[in-house]
């Protein structure tokens, strides 16, 4: 092969378009850098460095005094209890809503193939409510409830109950629709009530998936209830927030480690339950 040919092969033919694309992307991102006040040098100015340095220096060793550990244990239990109670309340709301929202139990669909207008008029608003409930982040609900019912775990429980009822309701309705519809249809056609058709026609096939999704959501609720403490809704999050304000680095590290353990624990519990129940 002649030398000149290899020389030409070294040049990547796609290089110019790629460079232009990168340049265009950077131009688009420029206003973004302005909007986010992107100034990395801030991190290194003397004052911020001193504050952060003092804080980080306090990180080690983690706080392990008996008194603090007792508080930590209580906050951990509170976090777990918030997630569990919140999810239990969410179920109370999600189950009836999902039964209304699902198409599987439509009697009019049995005859004409699609649900009647009144059925749809009832179903769509419920679906819309479910969308709104779950699209507002739980921490926003928590912030609102803290102002309505005061600081403490009640706000967190209510926030989880509301957001998770939206999520569970929507997914439950979809799960009912995804299982084999024949048994429920047969029951409805032979004149059984909708509730009976659901209990004997849909639930046996859907139970496994419902359980496993609910357990997954419980894990998410544990994580969410830690976070919600930041707006004053009790549990571990509220402790982190307080410790950070007091620049107590050692406490922050202890709480973060507890948080990691809690997440691992929740993961294990839900895995075990899934194996036993589902």
């Amino acid at each position: 092969m002649p030398v000149t040919a290899t020389r030409a092969h070294w040049h990547d033919p796609a290089a110019t378009p790629r460079a232009l694309l990168t340049l265009a992307l950077l131009l688009v991102l420029w206003p973004g850098l302005q909007l986010t006040e992107f100034r990395p040098q801030i991190l290194f100015n003397a004052q911020n460095r001193e504050v952060m340095g003092r804080f980080l220096a306090g990180f080690w060793p983690p706080d392990t005094s008996a008194e603090f550990l007792l508080m930590l244990g209580r906050a951990t239990l509170e976090t777990l209890a918030m997630a569990t109670a919140g999810l239990a309340l969410a179920l109370l709301l999600a189950i009836p809503l999902s039964l209304i929202a699902t198409r599987t139990l439509s009697i009019s669909a049995l005859f004409s193939g699609r649900p009647s207008r009144t059925g749809r008029l009832l179903r769509y608003p419920v679906r819309f409510v479910l969308i709104v409930l779950r699209s507002i982040p739980e921490i926003v609900w928590a912030l609102l409830f803290v102002r309505a019912v005061g600081l403490g775990p009640t706000a967190g429980v209510l926030a989880i109950a509301i957001t998770y009822s939206g999520m569970l309701g929507k997914v439950y309705a979809e799960i009912y629709e995804s299982v084999d519809p024949q048994p429920a249809r047969a029951l409805l056609q032979s004149g059984s009530s909708r509730l009976a058709a659901f209990l004997y026609g849909v639930l046996p096939n859907a139970a496994q998936e419902l359980t496993s999704y609910t357990l997954y959501r419980w894990e998410c609720a544990v994580r969410a209830s830690v976070i919600m403490g930041f707006v004053g809704a009790g549990g571990l999050g509220q402790m982190i927030d307080l410790s950070m304000r007091m620049f107590a680095g050692g406490e922050v590290v202890s709480i973060l480690l507890t948080f990691l353990l809690l997440v691992l624990l929740a993961d294990q519990i839900s895995q075990q339950l899934r194996k036993r129940l589902a």
Binding site: P31, L35, T36, V51, A148, V157, M244
Partner: protein, 254 residues
């Protein structure tokens, strides 16, 4: 029979846990729904309506929305950059020692939630959107670094090996043999995380990290409920729009 007995026992344990939770928290729903506090709560809820739609506030909301989008975009981009760098180490391309250390770092970055990072970054960089950007970048670097490394490990090594055998340098072999195989997957992961981060950026402001969240926190603290309501509606609109857009894109791109 034995299995159903154990399932029943587990169910009993769950019920006990739920009862214990309510007992431990000592939730006082009775007082929550007493006529007095019910009237108070209805009053509070009523003060959110109608949402404030004055032109001045709407233009501020628009600014806040743009800021939220910018925080999520820049944060995700930074995370994609550093995630790509760390993924090379985490996939074991530069030795096992670097691999173990890097995995530890990525796990640590990932297991601290964004909001905690944001609270820390507000200390380090002051109030404002820059703290939020850093928080998103730190957490997402952990997530993307691990996903990118998995993609690198699963990509077939033959193209790069062929280039190496033909005399290309290690860097060239990586750029032209390995990278083209993983880029589509990296891009998909990055876009997916961006979608999540838009939602997250909207609430990071609660600890002072800019965007719509900070506006909501400030208006609620100043008891300007009707302004807060329009912030909530803006958040809702943004989340629904992003959801719809990503659903549409996913259906089109398959």
């Amino acid at each position: 029979m034995k299995q159903s007995l154990s399932a029943a026992l587990w169910l009993l344990a769950i019920v006990a846990a739920v009862v214990a939770s309510f007992a431990y928290l000592q939730l006082d729903f009775a007082s929550l729904f007493s006529t007095d506090s019910r009237a108070q709560m209805l009053d509070y809820a009523g003060s959110f309506f109608p949402p404030n739609t004055s032109a001045g506030w709407l233009s501020k909301l628009w600014q806040g929305t743009l800021e939220t989008l910018a925080i999520s975009a820049i944060g995700t981009l930074l995370a994609a950059f550093f995630g790509a760098l760390f993924s090379l180490l985490a996939a074991g391309r530069l030795g096992n020692m670097a691999k173990a250390l890097c995995r530890l770092l990525l796990n640590a970055l990932r297991s601290v939630p964004e909001l905690v990072w944001a609270a820390l970054m507000v200390l380090a960089a002051g109030l404002g959107p820059f703290a939020g950007t850093l928080a998103i970048a730190l957490h997402t670097t952990g997530v993307l670094g691990r996903l990118f490394a998995e993609a690198l490990e699963n990509t077939p090594p033959e193209p790069a090996n062929a280039l190496r055998a033909a005399g290309a340098s290690a860097t060239t072999a990586f750029l032209y043999g390995t990278l083209p195989g993983v880029i589509p997957q990296w891009l998909a992961y990055t876009l997916y995380r961006w979608e999540n981060n838009i939602r997250m950026a909207a609430v990071l402001g609660f600890v002072g990290a800019g965007g719509l969240g900070q506006m909501l926190h400030v208006t609620l603290s100043l008891f300007q409920q009707s302004k807060a309501m329009s912030v909530i509606l803006a958040m809702l609109a943004m989340v629904l729009l992003v959801d719809a857009l990503s659903g549409w894109l996913r259906a089109r791109l398959g």
